[in-house]
Symmetry: C2
Subunit: 762 residues, 2 copies
């Protein structure tokens, strides 16, 4: 844990440059706009420790997997989010001395991320080898208003000299992925061009053949007036295009480079029109100018905050933490493009590759449902609908048939691209996370038409998977599900993981509901789906019912609790509090077999199930299970604590809820797990939001009605959050004195606050 960042309500602030923290800051100060993102690398050269990273949504590379012992059924490739061409580069040299913060004396270094406006600023004074001292201020943003535009204002002021400055302003596709399995470069040049004031490079990815065009225009001002360059050379190298400009830097006078970048991908433009389109984007940005572009950008952020802000009074660190989580989620996914999704590191790093895990459905969806228009969450569902064909292929590869759909554990295009048998093949509950997301969406929005349009097809596929995946145990006279890994990945290849069995059977019931709904409401569409999916309604739903009726659920009768899986009570039951400090985290200290045979739980498993199907259990059942499982849970997944916060809040375990909350809220800001340099934990940030809104705020939707049952942690004066719900924006404020509810926009509605109806109108 590190605490080098300053606390501030709206800003992330780093003062002083500590090279050891640079890669952490590069992650934390990342900016993005849902279409692209950029780590907080320096514009100028930097020979110190850095992880250069620029990312374009949807552009990936299927890197050949590296695996020790190949198992039949493994995919050949692991899809990686690509490090995309560099658009931020502005190299500076003064009298043949490069400006490189690893090699000069740096004073007054400050890096600020303004979350309210999505602006990254950096300033410092650097003394070069010969004593020349220069002040630099840079600002940049990825435009939220124009998804293909990035803009930089880079200002240089000589403090004790006048001299010739050489500026290299460029775009560069000669970039590498640090996580490349075979040290390969993934980009090839297609086109490049540079002329005075502009440059463009089109590069294509190997194998996947995505084209990305990265272009730039710039202008230079001194003291607010166009600067006259002494000389301008164009520079063209393999995958690289730029200008080298010689300018006169005058003591005390600010020379400013305004650099406008266009980042366009063949996902959004025909390949042969990419360059033309990029030039158009560039010209518009250039003529608009930095300030006007920034105003447009800031307005979008203003709107986003109006939809989604959470305020916390009395605890600036907590306020900063929750806003940082919301900020990152907002800039990772805007919901405008149904082909995109939420990678575990968003645009802040390469780690984990792939773009999509079940994290999206299980953790992120509720955030977008409540903080944006319904389209945003809906597009996340449609993303999976579009991958249905691939999910059916994935299932086929594992021996399933007749349209059974097995959604991938990690994917870019719907195809499984993860290679670890105990996860890839066995962590099967994820396929039903897609079903649960449909329920979540419909329950929240009331948009049952989603069943008709997309949902039913997906549900039939998933239901077919389960109906083939169970087997009849003659021993138990029940249907069982053997050889799975549950959400708790510290158990592998277990039999009858309760969460998996419960979710599987629930999916069959839910699919039946969808069948009934569509059949009763749109028979034509129903018949269309029956024909498209070769659905044999009677035969298939009879089997679903049979499985639902006879599904086996492991229980511990003595303790009257749910059993995580068969045989769990054969373990030595210890408590996390009995572990020695040097044993933690288990996954870095214990060998895998020791973890597996221990009772310790990586992340909520039975409790995850109870959280998802809360209304199926009475409060005492929830309490018994929570009291049993929470002390065994090490929360070594960032996705775990939020579920426990929500249940602890429900059970009135206030201090426990707050304590668990703290683990997630500043996870990256304080680099709790010593891994933020690889990127921020984006998907778990939605869990932090849930901890406040569903945990402390007690928000639920039941039968179309919003419920709140809030409490306030002792450490806070008040907190408030905004919720979008069926065309309204509500604000809920919780203080020591009570709960204030306010309808900020939309039609009147009745909500339930602590068991009582409250009528809201504007």
């Amino acid at each position: 844990m590190k605490e080098y960042l300053k606390h501030h309500e709206w800003q992330i602030i780093e003062e002083g440059l500590d090279p050891h923290y640079n890669k952490i800051s590069e992650s934390v100060f990342s900016i993005g706009n849902g279409r692209m993102g950029q780590r907080a690398n320096f514009e100028e050269e930097y020979s110190g420790e850095t992880l250069r990273g620029s990312y374009v949504a949807g552009v990936y590379y299927p890197d050949k997997t590296r695996v020790g012992w190949w198992k039949n059924g493994y995919p050949e490739y692991f899809a990686k989010v690509l490090n995309a061409p560099n658009w931020i580069g502005i190299h500076v040299s003064i009298d043949n001395q490069k400006l490189d913060l690893a090699k000069c004396k740096v004073e007054d270094f400050k890096r600020v991320l303004d979350m309210r406006t999505g602006l990254l600023s950096r300033s410092f004074a650097a003394t070069l080898g010969d004593g020349k001292k220069v002040r630099v201020e840079s600002k940049r943003f990825c435009s939220m208003a124009h998804g293909e535009v990035g803009a930089i204002r880079y200002a240089i002021t000589p403090l004790n000299f006048s001299a010739k400055g050489l500026l290299s302003i460029y775009v560069d596709a000669d970039v590498v992925n640090k996580d490349s399995n075979y040290d390969e470069k993934f980009w090839e040049e297609v086109y490049k061009d540079a002329s005075e004031g502009r440059a463009v490079v089109t590069a294509q990815t190997k194998k996947t053949n995505f084209h990305v065009t990265t272009g730039m225009r710039y202008h230079i001002e001194t003291d607010g007036k166009k600067a006259n360059a002494d000389r301008i050379n164009t520079e063209l190298r393999e995958k690289f295009a730029g200008n080298v400009i010689q300018v006169a830097l005058q003591e005390g006078k600010e020379t400013v480079v305004y650099k406008y970048a266009a980042i366009l991908s063949s996902e959004n433009h025909p390949k042969d029109q990419l360059v033309t389109a990029a030039n158009k984007v560039l010209d518009e940005a250039f003529h608009k100018g930095f300030d006007a572009l920034f105003d447009e950008h800031a307005k979008v952020w203003q709107h986003k905050w109006e939809e989604s802000d959470i305020t916390i009074e009395g605890d600036i660190a907590a306020q900063q933490g929750i806003r940082f989580n919301i900020f990152q989620l907002m800039q990772t996914y805007t919901g405008e493009d149904e082909r995109l999704n939420i990678g575990p590191k968003g645009f802040t790093g390469e780690k984990y590759g792939g773009s999509t895990y079940w994290d999206t459905e299980a953790y992120c969806l509720p955030f977008y449902l409540s903080t944006a228009e319904p389209k945003v969450a809906r597009n996340l569902l449609v993303y999976r609908y579009k991958h249905l064909g691939k999910a059916i292929e994935n299932a086929k590869k594992l021996g399933f048939k007749d349209g059974a759909a097995f959604y991938p554990f990690v994917t870019m295009n719907g195809e499984e691209c993860h290679n670890e048998w105990e996860i890839t093949f066995e962590e099967i509950h994820r396929t039903s996370a897609m079903a649960y997301a449909i329920r979540d969406y419909i329950e929240y929005t009331g948009d049952k038409n989603y069943f008709t349009e997309y949902g039913l097809e997906v549900l039939i596929g998933i239901a077919r998977y389960w109906s083939q995946r169970v087997n009849w145990s003659a021993e138990k006279s029940k249907y069982v599900i053997l050889g799975v890994t549950g959400p708790n990945e510290y158990e592998n290849n277990v039999n009858n993981n309760w969460y998996t069995n419960y979710l599987g059977a629930w999916t069959l019931r839910f699919a039946q509901q969808a069948v009934d709904y569509v059949k009763n409401n749109n028979l034509n569409r129903y018949n269309e789906i029956v024909s498209k999916t070769s659905f044999r309604e009677k035969e298939e739903t009879d089997r679903w019912k049979e499985i639902v009726e006879k599904m086996y659920y492991p229980v511990d009768e003595k303790r009257n609790i749910i059993l995580q899986q068969d045989g769990f009570m054969d373990k030595e039951i210890l408590r996390v509090s009995e572990l020695k400090k040097e044993d933690r985290p288990l996954n870095q200290k214990w060998s895998w077999d020791r973890i597996l045979r221990s009772c310790f739980i990586k992340q909520a498993d039975v409790l995850q199930g109870i959280y998802l199907f809360e209304d199926d259990f009475d409060i005492e059942t929830i309490r018994r299970n929570y009291d049993f499982y929470e002390p065994l849970t090490v929360h070594e997944s960032s996705l775990s604590p939020c579920v426990h916060v929500i249940l602890a809040s429900k059970l009135g375990y206030k201090s426990s809820a707050y304590e668990l909350y703290l683990r997630t809220a500043r996870l990256d800001l304080d680099d709790y797990n010593n891994d933020t340099e690889e990127g921020c934990h984006i998907t778990s940030m939605a869990g932090t939001w849930m901890s406040v809104v569903k945990g402390f705020g007690g928000m639920r939707v039941r039968d179309g009605k919003l419920h709140f049952n809030p409490f306030i942690p002792d450490q806070w004066k008040s907190y408030s959050f905004r919720i979008e719900f069926r065309g309204r924006v509500l604000k809920i404020k919780v203080s020591k004195d009570g709960v204030e509810t306010k309808l900020e926009s939309g039609e009147p509605l009745v909500i339930d606050v602590k068991g009582e109806d409250v009528q809201l109108r504007k």
Copy 2:
């Protein structure tokens, strides 16, 4: 399955060169002498498909492992048997045309392995591009009498021309391992020298720094007289030394190259004396000459066959098969060097790396016990004794303490070098295979002193492992063993694998016996061991007893059988006969999860336990378990059928026993599994031997007495085998008419044949 090899009692014969079979033949026709081995590669150049392989016992390289998802506790390296310097090379070119069987017309190709004398011969007529036709006959052997000597007789006869021939005769350390993880070369040059008639190269392995010196001398004769070379050039390149000789080849006259090679390793010589020693070995071999060397070599083989031959009358294919198995075992391990062991591919290929698996103790030991002097088997045990320190380190890495010993799954030097958590960490029964081997050895030889000298220390270490590895199940009020993989590797991470639990508890009882024996027979040595191992006798053996008393064994009460592991009966119980042909072999057709949740068994598991502890079970228990488990077993390990043969024989299931036997006897000769090109299945060959002797022959040792209970498969006229037993050599011959027993050497003894005492004397 392929059947291109001719049937013959003593020889393996290939007629005609089919390039598709060349790599298979290279494996099958391999020769070795326990110190080194050589695949049946051609002496001359060959540009067709080939796997060049030469191996020196004990010389390995720790190749950096390649693994997809690293687990804490994995070893960094995987020890590989190295492809060692090439000593066979004789390149031939005639009028600038290379002799390369992939590029000329080949007639009368014949490859013969004479198993009686360990001689590889090859002959062919080749027509070069310009029509020149030449006949070549080559013979070679790895001397069984002089472990560091290889000899080649390579004869060339022009059939339709006279011309200048250019012969390149060399040794070459510039070789690669096909299974290198990062395409690295593992050898570096230390020294090389060439002069007229001789050449030598010393190379060292990276990281492990083994030095291997490979030298050669040669002479050339035409028509039985020393040939005069027109020109001799020495040739020296990186890691390569040789001579290039120009000789006049005369139509119809045979020119013969006699090449003598010396292969010496720093395992047996000081590094600085390797070259001197190699030259001495070379000179001796050279002066002895090919024929005299061969006579000495053949005599050793004659003696080996006298000890170990099995004859089968009435079935030449079976006769050839069993002799091939014995031949390979004999040339893989001679028992002369306690630092060596038996790799799964012996000296016939690279696959699997490492040198030592539990195969040695579980499958190979009985063969060497019965077919060689006791020292040979004893050295296999001492090998593990010498690795005890490493086994204790291996255990420590996985969280065990106080001298617990966990023997590796794969090793070269005692250190674990395998990376697959479900095997490396969880297939724990292998550590007790070491204990069982001690029992096997003592039971067979009567040498109880082994306890005192080595056994007890090893047994204390292994017992300590088990006493820490079990845990108390409050649920069952029993000790349980969680998270293991049994011998049946088609189950991973299961709880209470019966075989593992049984073997674990047995080990504790056996360790107690060892403690008692040594304490009662050699108190001084006992005290020495107590002090060396910090053995707290009372406390530790009390715990052993407690565990033995309260060990949990899964059973199926309904069927009155042993349960392979907890939960096994939840599976859908099918029979192998219900599988479709296209589903086999499962490990190539089904994804891993499907295999895991199926009932199908890769290799004997419960039955392996019953086989090892046969006398603990009454015949009806054995029958019930066999009848249940055999139909579920796919035998996708070559180590599986032999156990079933032995039990089926005992149960009187004659045709079933014979059928299972057939799967192993010609496994490599007929390339059953399509994988012989990677090397022969050496360790499972011992299982084939067991099938005959312990299966059909029904041989057992009980309380120091030999028992036989033979039957003869309907397909055979008779079979016979020889057994070494406590200083005697016995011959047992079984025919339709009955059993003949004969004492060939040694003191009189009483044996039990079909329940009756038979007095044997010479």
